[in-house]
């Protein structure tokens, strides 16, 4: 470790306004933007009731149990559904106009009509499944003549059964948290800008500056590690500032496991920097192309981790579970998410292990490419 290189590198990087902007100010600005955009949702109910229509035909009129269950689920402060009773044509129209997420048509059996597969649609579906299952049990039990059938019926329409899908912690479900967790993950991967610069400044075939370093009487990898340490320190500090800003200015919850949250951030920062370094070492294209790849892939990853459209994360984990596991932005997001929502660490450990493996791959890959000291061409 060379202090001369480290100290000068710190000086250099701290004055690199453009990279500081992308790695620090940009995420902070996005955080503020998110916060403003979600202010209303946040101050209202934690959960926005799902628009649901029921075709008001004779079958529904006759189904007392379903009526009760739906009424239960669509009244009160914690209501699950915003219920509309209407004709089938009208329901179809509401669905097309996206005023509702789905409607129920009761024939012999209740049928759910939805347009897409998202969290809201799934909640209606699981409500219905749960209702049907309960009714089946109720019928069975009723046939065995219980003492208090009314009590049984009461258990049919409990909204928190569907929203509070997480066992254990006292944490409150807050869908907005996910946006901020993806934001941290994105910011960690924007640390790739630092990693990219490190490789550019040590590979003589990438910059004349690096050529100067390469002809000096210094060990290349030692110089690289000293220089890289400065990047790691700066980026980790940036991420801590982001965490503190989110926690204490925007009042975003991270749960009680502070130590783990910081550890996750540190690993995220390392993952991001090594990712950028790896791209820079691997891609034999211009600086602009590399930056485009870094921003593009991070945005892509953030999108599929649910940053822009939250349903995406859910859809991905249902339909393309592999994508959820190989998307490092999602792994990092999910690590924060599981620290907050779960008491047990198993899901967290899975995420962190996968992310750790990827980081090792990025580091090893970078090492293999940059360890050479002579170049085929400059």
């Amino acid at each position: 470790m060379s202090t001369h290189v480290f100290v000068n590198r710190l000086k250099c990087l701290l004055r690199d306004k453009e990279t500081i902007f992308w790695t620090m100010l940009f995420p902070l600005l996005l955080a503020i933007f998110f916060n403003v955009a979600f202010a209303n949702i946040n101050s209202g109910e934690a959960f926005q009731a799902i628009g649901l229509a029921v075709v008001n035909n004779s079958s529904f009129q006759n189904d007392q149990a379903l009526q009760t269950a739906l009424t239960e689920a669509s009244t009160g402060k914690q209501k699950l559904f915003e219920l509309t009773l209407t004709s089938q044509d009208k329901a179809e129209q509401l669905l097309t106009e996206q005023k509702i997420s789905g409607y129920l048509l009761i024939d012999k059996e209740p049928v759910l009509v939805v347009r897409k597969a998202g969290i809201r649609e799934s909640i209606i579906k699981s409500f219905l499944d749960s209702y049907l299952q309960t009714m089946a049990s109720v019928n069975t039990i009723l046939q065995s003549k219980p003492k208090n059938p009314a009590l049984l019926l009461n258990s049919v329409g409990q909204p928190q059964n569907y929203v509070t899908e997480v066992p254990g912690t006292t944490a409150e479900p807050n869908s907005i948290l996910l946006f901020f967790y993806t934001l941290i993950a994105m910011a960690c991967f924007y640390g790739g800008f630092w990693g990219m610069r490190e490789v550019t400044d040590i590979q003589a075939n990438l910059s004349p500056l690096a050529a100067r370093i390469n002809i000096s009487p210094q060990h290349k990898l030692k110089t690289f590690l000293s220089s890289l340490s400065a990047s790691l320190l700066i980026h980790f500090t940036e991420m801590l500032i982001l965490l503190l800003f989110l926690r204490y200015v925007l009042q975003i919850e991270f749960g009680a496991k502070t130590g783990y949250v910081i550890l996750t951030t540190a690993l995220g920062s390392l993952a991001g920097i090594s990712y950028g370094a790896f791209i820079s070492a691997l891609v034999k294209k211009s600086e602009n192309v590399k930056v485009a790849i870094l921003i593009g892939s991070t945005m892509f990853g953030s999108f599929f981790a649910g940053m822009m459209v939250q349903n995406i994360k859910y859809i991905v984990s249902q339909k393309f579970p592999l994508l959820a596991y190989i998307n490092p932005v999602n792994l990092l997001t999910d690590a924060f998410y599981s620290l907050y929502y779960y008491d047990t660490l198993s899901r967290y450990v899975l995420n962190i292990s996968l992310l750790g493996i990827m980081t090792i791959v990025f580091c090893l890959g970078t090492y293999v490419i940059i360890r050479g000291r002579k170049y085929a061409s400059l």
Partner: protein
């Protein structure tokens, strides 16, 4: 001997950039590597510095075989690359200190060296400037200071005057002579023959990766048949007269273009007299007339059949 290169061959895919290039640089010399664009000067320098892989050849510096890990050798080399390589986020002084620090760990000694280097390139009043604020010429000077602040025994400069204003250029050339006087051996590449003639004690002319001639400028000029170039301004010269001229003894060539007659004669005296005699007998009117000794360009032209610079 400071540098010895034997049979260096370097290929970039299908381009043969260096073709069995051999050279030696002796202690205290200013060794000039003169060649047109793309002749392989930078490639040769980068091979010597162990930056580039090469296909064949042996390179020794200070009597040791050169490798990337030859830190003792590298410690005594200073390089000024063709491309400016400085940190945009560090000031003039910080840049020099940083690069000097890669060679000289001792802070106190370094401080002196940095001040000396700044004075040497005349950047004193700009020492707290960031590179972006420097003009092209000043930036080149900073680039030089970064390469030589640690007082190396061997200094390699790869076209340090490209795109530099005449004032900075002179300052740079004077500086190189001064460094040499203080004991440094210098390798200087350029495609400006005037510069090379001005400062180099020995010159190698290269073309297409091959050494085509080596020696002092006098030795190089002695290698060619042309001894003198006579230029005559004249309104009219007929083709017959031109052919007659060419047939005169000691005249190597005669060309008439744009009202300028250029005659090249072989070595020996009385060449100008012969030409003037001819003009008198033919009754040719002429304006200015002047005679020049051959330049390195003429050397290059005669050996390769093309101009050093186009």
């Amino acid at each position: 001997m400071i540098v010895s290169v034997k049979n260096l061959v370097k290929r970039y895919d299908d381009i043969l950039a260096l073709d069995h290039l051999s050279l030696t640089v002796n202690d205290g010399e200013i060794f000039g590597l003169l060649g047109p664009n793309g002749s392989g000067k930078t490639t040769a320098i980068n091979c010597i510095l162990s930056l580039l892989k090469y296909d064949k050849g042996e390179i020794e510096i200070f009597g040791q075989s050169m490798r990337p890990e030859a830190y003792d050798v590298k410690r005594n080399i200073g390089v000024v690359m063709q491309n400016v390589a400085v940190y945009n986020e560090l000031t003039v002084q910080e840049n020099i200190d940083y690069f000097c620090g890669l060679y000289v760990p001792d802070k106190r000694l370094r401080k002196e060296l940095v001040t000396e280097a700044i004075d040497f390139v005349g950047l004193h009043e700009f020492s707290s400037y960031y590179p972006k604020k420097l003009s092209g010429g000043l930036l080149r000077r900073l680039n030089i200071a970064c390469g030589i602040a640690h007082k190396p025994k061997l200094i390699i400069l790869d076209e340090p005057t490209v795109a530099v204003d005449p004032q900075s250029r002179n300052k740079i050339l004077e500086g190189i002579l001064e460094l040499n006087k203080k004991g440094a051996t210098i390798i200087y590449t350029s495609h400006y023959m005037e510069e090379v003639e001005q400062i180099c004690s020995r010159i190698m002319i290269i073309d297409k990766g091959r050494a085509i001639a080596t020696g002092t400028k006098e030795e190089l000029k002695a290698m060619i048949t042309m001894g003198e170039k006579i230029t005559v301004e004249s309104q009219r010269i007929t083709e017959t007269q031109l052919n007659q001229l060419r047939r005169l003894p000691s005249i190597v060539s005669a060309d008439y273009k744009n009202k300028l007659l250029i005659i090249k004669s072989s070595k020996g005296s009385n060449n100008l007299e012969t030409v003037l005699e001819f003009f008198k007998t033919e009754n040719i009117q002429f304006g200015k007339i002047y005679s020049e000794l051959p330049t390195l360009n003429d050397v290059f032209l005669e050996i390769t059949g093309k101009q050093l610079r186009d």
